[in-house]
Symmetry: D2
């Protein structure tokens, strides 16, 4: 009886997984609402090569190899090198995180520690368009945080930033400012301007050493370096950056990169905990870190290279512009697009479309993130369906 | 030229990965020092079924399905149900974390929030044998923490606990105690006794509502419920537990389970942030969560079931005892073993053995974690090598 | 339009394959009628290791490596060595075929050539229980063939063999006899006895050099060497043997082994065609030969070894006996079983059962081949279903 | 001891396979000499989807589904339909073979049977440039065969064909001619012209019903239909065709398609053996047929479609022309190329190059088959190496 249940159950489990796979392949064809590439056959090659069946653990600092040999820290290092080079960051510290949230958490944590050990009270400033994890992280880290207003586009309102800093300045003496710089907000893709922030800081005579700027470039991290409008972040006072691996690069499995200015990092964590158990420094937030993620990330970098990422970035921006134009041509309401990025926002369509295309919505708005798998043809299909349902609903006003 | 570099580089990348795979298969045969199953062919079946190539994202609360359909929250729920049942926890909240560290972080975070919203100052008590992430987490969360001494076995010294609590009591009035209960320490596998802790609390007349106990059962979480010596944790005041998936269960990819008493959780996070963008509550520390991990965990549970885990647990304990006896028989110095668990400690052997078997060491001690892949025969081989090298070094004193 | 069709079609193709996979996993659970292991997870490991994506071609003679390096002839050789050792055949020639039929074709072909080049007319004798490919092969090779009657069990009737040889002897002078020896017939698993055939030949004073015996051991080839009743085939005049890889060994993908006495082979094919194009001799019937099959076969041999095959053989025979007893206990009609093999025959059940269990039938008989995946428990389930449907149909007479 | 040997041996086996994989990836980069695509990642997706672990057996006629459900005959049928459409063959019989050789064997077999049952003696005519399996097949089938001379290009010499037929005609009355039509010879890619053969037959007043033409289009089968120079084969008296799946289509695992004119097939095999055991007709040469091959073939067809094959064909022809021009530009000796195909022949280079590029050679000639993986850039690399080694050897005469 026992054995039957077991065999039968296992057969049922395998069938269920297989049917789940079929269902998800179907879903991936209309995955429009979130900034991920929903399917990557190249990586399944990797997975199946047998590497997915091994416990590869990059516990501890990526640059220190402990006693356990089953890790991928050499590959991790090459990924970090690649990203650092994209940002002209010669001397860096960093690691592959479990996702964008951990990267942002680390940035804020490093900022907090930086000022705390200098006996300055840290204050955190972030715009209202920031990712939902940003205030969560501040709460977790127990850092006093101030939300800065945004313009309609989603970009930080620098006047409001000035006011917020002034209000801190009024009440406090020995303090440090940690500022979150959005390189692409979640909902509209808006990018804050570093130079504008510096204008504010200069105007208020805030000394450079009292400011820690962290860049959240979750989606745009592998696109921003190719934009003509880009600023040179690390040369201009950014101390850390967080980028998602499963968004634009397409590692499929969630992961991210955190990069920090090395001298800042060294100054902050002078006595990073040496863990004899690991024969490594415990410098990361996660403990055990999935070494398979580094292999995925590394393989994609070999496959695409700088040119590959650049071409994909340009195509996606072009296609986002194409979606924007298409929606405008049909007079669809409330269409908006910030230049040089992948997100188009518009009035929330009927439920059928929200469901089918798995659209992210906020209030009366929806958006599409034009990732690599969304071709002009798929955009045409979407617009055709949108038009037909809108007409039925008399939503589009001529 | 371009194209050559590309093709050639890709070929080189594939060759490097393949050779890396061969090297790691070799390493996995003598992976003795850390609490993981180094290789799991069953899961590679899963990976290759095509599920590993899909972006499956369990962002947000596991019980709330948002607009995006590409998730595995149904499977996650079944994993949590399974673990809750192991612990007779009828009403729970929980999620699959990125690893044991996130689970412990969550437990402490929940404790902090629980008391903070009651306007009580939280204090954290953890034994000196706790995992290295425990004090790191306290620092991250900005919670005042006290380290409690341990006995030689690695178990918490309850007298010292009494003293530490007294010292808090002396200085503070409205406070809450968050106590870390080790269900198996990292180095010696020692288990703290819940009843002893309650004796201390009772003796000091600390009200139950001022205590939050979090259990760190990283390695032992799927073994403890089968022990005759077990205590009924959640019925006796434990509020949360963290268990690793890649340790005893063998999910290969790092992940973990965090389970919490539901009424405690509801009381703590009354207004858990609703994120319109996700159509889900943002109740977890991570943002994007890897849905493939839930599939791995779920599949293992189907494959092994309660009986499978129980049998494996008994075999591992038996084999650990066998290693302990073998080392004693050869008069190897400094051998120690705490009953009912998988870790045997002994004097650190020569570098050759530490390297080959990738042993974790601390000071002059090393340990072996007798996981499922370490058979009696492998133990014999290890002891034979140890004996021969020890004799050369005249380490073993007759 | 083009592009849409393409993407959509590909998505549909992937979904169809995935659903096909689910359906086949279901079918494999009740695959009772044919002599194959329907599913082998171990091999999918192999496939996925990346070896399945390479064109590995063992064209030409297995012992001659040509210019093309993408072959697996070293692995093929080790498989052949293993099988030769099972049969105490020190000096052999052989290769991995595309299946049992090619092996039998090769045996008959070699027999034909052996006599032809000695200017003797070849005649082929095979029993009526032989596999359906046996007379087909004779027709293909244009060899005169005589069908010998069988006993009720499926074993060759040696008296009838005597008569058939006599009738040849009457009409011809310079001739050679090619005799097919069944080591397990397709329908009942009956084994012809080599010693009985020699009795017939001795009685008729047929010189040894005028006889070529080929053994068809498609299913039993990896079982027969472990039987106490076995005869020493090659030491007693057998010149070649054909064994299926996808039957008892479980290579999943159809393939087989053909082994021949080396001195006989050399004598027959003295001037085996040298193909400059391949830098190899064209000694096999197939041209391009799938090198992946040799890897599968080799891996299984590493995994199971002689002891593994022996144990599996004993278990299957025990389970076949168990099925036989179970059917008898329920007084099911027409149950038969020949000792020391895996097949049980019985009256053809109702269509529902034939369909579900995919039973092979012949006239009013059906059979089950008790392969490794058919456990006692699965047999119980089958018998329970058979009983219930039989009672409804009043088939079973009490 | 036993257990150690087993575990250790298995680890060694896995390492050996993995290192073998690395070696073969390296070899695949310079696989120039034979008409195969050496690596196909798309198919490994398929393999890994779990389909490679199932025993899928298309035993018997492809259009008859027997009791066993674990087959892929529906997919096989769609592959055959696709190929038949390429050749405007409305009414066909066919199956997926184990490779080109089986297809050619079947064609000749069908020709033999066609005439035999009409009581005409079959004679087989094939050119000296035919694949080495062609005369082997004739010998196997015991058909009298005549080798026809070729022109320097490798095309059949039609005058010599006339003479050979005349010599048959002189000695025999009731006979049938089976003519092998090369659609691309193995060494030079030369194509015989069907119309020229008809001229010969007309001239000699051979009645149509006494001629059976089989086309061997192993490599060119998926290219020929796209050539402007193509003839309409089946409308002009071709009765059967054999095409390899692992050559131009790229199924990786050896397989092929055999297609025959249905009315011819029906006339030939009127009483095709019904096998109760299979519940299918035994109309193929192989018995068990690997159903996974049909899935591979089917998936490629979904992936490429008619347009995909056409584009690839045009690119390969263009690249072959490019290689031809490059070799001529460096005055390399003995360069030859027949229009509209993929093979370029030239003087055999030094051993180092023959080895590295795994070149097929015949006498003093070598050839390259410009398959899909051989880009212009790889051709440039090859020519550069050839030039440097040739100059050293003073092989190239200015």
């Amino acid at each position: 009886m026992e054995e039957f249940d077991y065999q039968e159950k296992l057969t049922q489990a395998e069938i269920r997984l297989t049917e789940f796979l079929a269902e998800q392949i179907r879903n991936s064809a209309t995955y429009f609402g979130y900034p991920e590439i929903p399917q990557n056959n190249d990586l399944s090659i990797l997975g199946i090569s047998g590497l997915a069946k091994l416990h590869l653990n990059n516990a501890g600092d990526p640059s220190v190899h402990g006693n356990a040999k089953m890790h991928t820290k050499e590959f991790e290092k090459e990924v970090l090198d690649f990203v650092a080079k994209l940002y002209d960051l010669e001397s860096y510290w960093g690691y592959i995180t479990s996702g964008g949230t951990e990267g942002n958490l680390y940035g804020l944590y490093m900022g907090r520690e930086y000022f705390t050990q200098k006996n300055k009270k840290p204050f955190f400033l972030f715009s209202s368009s920031s990712h939902y994890s940003i205030p969560k992280n501040a709460h977790l880290l127990n850092v006093d945080a101030f939300q800065v207003n945004c313009d309609g586009s989603g970009e930080m309102n620098y006047k409001n930033l000035t006011e917020k800093i002034k209000s801190i300045n009024t009440k406090h003496k020995e303090y440090g400012l940690i500022i979150n710089l959005n390189i692409g907000t979640t909902m509209t893709g808006a990018m804050d301007e570093l130079s504008e922030i510096h204008n504010v800081l200069d105007e208020l005579h805030i000394p450079k050493e009292d400011v820690y700027i962290h860049a959240d470039a979750a989606l745009m991290g592998f696109i921003y370096p190719f934009l003509s409008s880009k600023e040179d972040l690390f040369a201009n006072g950014v101390s850390s950056i967080a980028i998602s691996g499963h968004k634009f690069p397409g590692t499929i499995h969630p992961c991210g990169v955190l990069l920090a200015n090395k001298s800042m990092h060294d100054a902050t964590f002078q006595d990073a905990n040496w863990i004899p158990y690991l024969e490594a420094n415990d410098t990361t937030i996660s403990g055990s870190r999935n070494g398979f993620l580094a292999l995925n990330f590394w393989y994609i970098i070999q496959k695409k290279g700088v040119n590959g990422f650049k071409e994909e970035a340009m195509t996606c921006i072009e296609n986002a512009q194409y979606l924007y134009n298409s929606l405008n041509e049909m007079n669809y309401p409330d269409v908006a697009y910030n230049a040089d990025q992948l997100i188009v926002t518009f009035e929330k369509p009927c439920d059928e479309i929200v469901q089918k295309y798995q659209l992210a919505t906020q209030g009366n708005k929806a958006h599409i993130v034009v990732m690599q798998h969304i071709s002009k043809h798929k955009i045409d299909q979407f617009c055709t369906l949108l038009k037909s349902t809108s007409q039925n609903l008399e939503l589009v006003k001529g």
